[in-house]
Point group: C2
DNA sequence: ATTACTGCAAAGCATTTGCAAATGC
DNA sequence: GCATTTGCAAATGCTTTGCAGTAAT
């Protein structure tokens, strides 16, 4: 396919090798900027992340790297993933909090949350615009929606 | 108060007792419908959930119920919360999966996911409409957004 | 009487952490 | 040479589970 055919995002997957090679120097700068070291383990994890074009789980990646000639230990995989997140190369697709939160919904409409990272407070909101847009997207993607969640992380102004 | 005065979001706390009393019989039906028993422990957890008007964590609720005259054990609290979720009285405010998922975002635009519960597949999408709506809501709520996530659970049609 | 449920304590399991050895600078 | 990292293994902490006793039907 021609790169021009690719609609989604700007990622051009023929460029995958180039992608690591382009990105690595940036990670190096990031590390240098914080007086951290450029190590083999970090390079290995970095490459492995870029070799994937799908979503992955930290523990899967760690398992993959647990053996073989370029093995990296669990702790280091997790630590490097944190660095990469901080540097903005990966995004964590999960709530920050590992704990399960609940709320009772009897008599409530569906709603979503603004979560203040500083105080941990939740602000509820609901939006017809969003629900409708999601319904539209699902129809377009031939996907049957069961429910959706919208979470906005940030902070309350003036708190 | 007239129920009609109630806006959304501002739960009116005088109504709290009525809310449980209205809901409990429904839970009883649900339990009977699946040949499960109506027990004291379940009633205690149910009430405690409805007595809260905020979000709560399973482990906090469990800690609360760990002592006192109406104590309920940890295991039972978790099990009852599952039942209540299944029955639709509470909503779990967290991804289904406890594991952290990552993806690399270098060269990708921000995007979100449709997650197929059957196959576990992810379908990516992005929507300017949603981002703008969220920005609008944050402005309205005086909230400074850092980032947002939209997750739609459901299933792919014809898979 | 039966059978489901509860409490308990132990097990699970992803993730984190302390520390001695290894490595980058 | 010195400080940061790594690997290892043990610890964490929420959640789940097996089992024997208890309660609901």
């Amino acid at each position: 396919m021609g790169a021009s055919d690719k609609k989604f995002g700007e990622s051009v997957h023929e460029g995958e090798d180039r992608s690591v090679d382009e990105a690595w120097p940036l990670f190096v700068s990031f590390l240098k900027g914080r007086a951290s070291r450029i190590t083999q383990a970090r390079r290995i994890v970095f490459e492995r992340v870029f070799a994937r074009h799908d979503h992955f789980r930290a523990d899967d990646l760690s398992a993959e790297l647990a053996s073989g000639e370029n093995r990296v230990s669990r702790g280091t995989v997790y630590r490097t993933l944190d660095l990469m997140t901080e540097a903005g190369f990966v995004q964590k697709i999960r709530d920050h909090d590992v704990h399960a939160h609940y709320e009772h919904i009897y008599g409530h409409g569906r709603h979503h949350h603004l979560i203040c990272e500083a105080s941990g407070d939740f602000i509820e909101f609901s939006s017809k615009v969003i629900s409708e847009e999601i319904a539209r997207i699902c129809a377009e993607k031939n996907f049957e929606e069961q429910f959706h969640r919208v979470v906005v992380f940030g902070s309350r102004k003036g708190v």
